[in-house]
Symmetry: C2
Subunit: 297 residues, 2 copies
DNA sequence: CTTTGCGCTTCATTATTTGCAGCGCTACTG
DNA sequence: CAGTAGCGCTGCAAATAATGAAGCGCAAAG
């Protein structure tokens, strides 16, 4: 859209960190870009960038402005999608960031379900830890985020929120696989595979261990739950995961047993959007469907 | 702001109802304006106006767009105000629509109180009935609305809400002035002054009377509470008002007595803003102060 | 101490926007 | 029922604004 051109250029400069680089990215000369920015700052009434010897950087006013720009363009997109919707076409693109646990079973099935009714809608799914997912929302790169243990709840609107107990994951004939419910201390007696601190489940583990005499002594710290699932088949090791990320009852090589909630708090799984934002139709509907599915879990 | 120019022109055309009129308003020629609009529609991907023989009118897509435009410009204003705030200056303008009852005592004292701390902030206060106040919010002409018995609550964010009983207003030595609490039927035995149906208190009266055998037989239907207050000093008449609009205990010519809540529901006084909107700093702070003051009432 | 990369400015050039005039159309008007 | 006024739209020349090429001064990096 033409009327946003200057704003988009500002965004490009903010990202590139220098006017000349941004100019190259946007296929114009640096002089033109330079003057557009000066022009804008003049009519805006305040500088937007700090001039550094090696480039530019947003100043506080610029940070405010860039936020406005993102909201702007995303809202315009929403309007266009809604207008397209008016003329009968059901199109759109839903972008969502989610925790790793959501990715293997839950999200694919829900997306497939949604697309059966709205085949014109496309999706963009990003797996992100909780901090990164929040960043995506803030930058309007994702419409939705479905994450465990979100951090800065006050900055977002919570569309739906449920809790899930932490499960231990182990080989099918692991000594602990006989019990129905496990104590955390029993698990820690075995080698254990835990994710790095940025991941929600690790946060809960750290909290829980903090109240105990025993310490967390991770044999392996691994980002990937996929990796964890395969590793525990070797070393009589224990992994941890939420049930939404497990194929409970339909995996014949692994056993999944819940940890006692006396030992470790259940995880909070929240569906978030940017505060106060009006989502595009497609995203809003998908969020709705997700909320219903979560409620049924 | 230059990058909004086309959008503002569209707004002008929507308001004027014809391109030529809008062109005159905006001091350009109709041909220039015409082509800007055509250009915009082209890149927008859909027409925004219906062409009528005597002018143009927004089509549904246009309605969506105009809403976006209003949100846009108001948000940009907010950013500018916030940037001004950054540079140390406490400036800004708060615009608020309120019910008539709020105007004589409550609003002036709260504004004065606020301005003692923020002398740079200016105010624009409009007295509106509940429907008109909601219109002002929707069109972004007012940041806030403080009204009795709002109608379409779902379209707005409720910042704060309290209830107030209905009071009868009468001459100091009116026969009913002796009692502590009045029954509605006793009031209706005297001539009564009521506002027109658009006003919140009338709505409550109509509701209450609907459950009774007696009918509302207004001697006078008057917009102005001011008028009502003066009139009841003549005809032994009864008027109705919420205590927030009365100088309870400090008026020596009138008596104010609450009606029994068994007869008539208390009025709901709500502080509203446009849904999902980020208010300018000044307005947000003032809303905050109002909410506190209402809670203390 | 040279080099590199930066923001910014000047000036001629190129796009873009504007105003003027006029066309065709439809709904009022006498 | 012709006349007229008001409308949206378009062609064309003039005015205005944005652009690119080149170069200046500056400060950090090598």
């Amino acid at each position: 859209m033409k009327h946003l051109q200057t704003l988009l250029l500002i965004q490009a400069v903010a990202q590139a960190g220098s006017i000349r680089k941004a100019a190259e990215d946007m296929n114009i000369t640096s002089s033109a870009l330079n003057r557009r920015i000066q022009g804008f700052e003049a009519e805006f009434g305040a500088p937007v960038f700090e001039r550094l010897p090696r480039g530019v950087r947003l100043n506080p006013a610029g940070e405010l402005l860039i936020q406005h720009i993102r909201a702007q363009s995303s809202d315009l997109e929403r309007v266009r999608a809604q207008v397209a919707d008016l003329s009968g076409v059901r199109r759109g693109r839903v972008s969502i960031s989610c925790s790793q646990a959501i990715q293997p079973y839950f999200m694919p099935s829900k997306i497939a379900e949604y697309r059966r009714e709205h085949p014109g809608v496309t999706f963009s799914v990003n797996v992100r830890d909780r901090d990164a997912a929040e960043m995506e929302l803030r930058s309007y790169n994702s419409d939705l985020a479905l994450v465990f243990e979100p951090r800065h709840l006050a900055e977002f609107d919570v569309i739906m929120s449920i809790t899930q107990p932490v499960y231990a994951v182990m080989e099918r004939n692991h000594p602990l696989a006989a019990k129905d419910e496990l104590r955390l201390r029993d698990c820690l007696a075995y080698p254990h595979v835990v994710p790095p601190p940025a991941i929600g489940i690790r946060y809960l583990l750290d909290l829980a261990v903090g109240r105990m005499s025993q310490k967390l002594a991770p044999t392996i710290e691994a980002e990937s739950f996929e990796f964890m699932r395969h590793y525990v088949q070797n070393d009589q090791a224990i992994g941890f995961q939420f049930p939404i990320g497990l194929n409970v009852g339909r995996d014949d090589r692994l056993a999944f047993k819940p940890l006692s909630v006396r030992d470790i708090a259940p995880g909070n799984l929240s569906l978030l959007q940017m505060k106060g934002r009006t989502l595009p139709v497609a995203s809003a509907r998908f969020a709705n469907q997700l909320a219903l599915a979560l409620a049924d879990l």
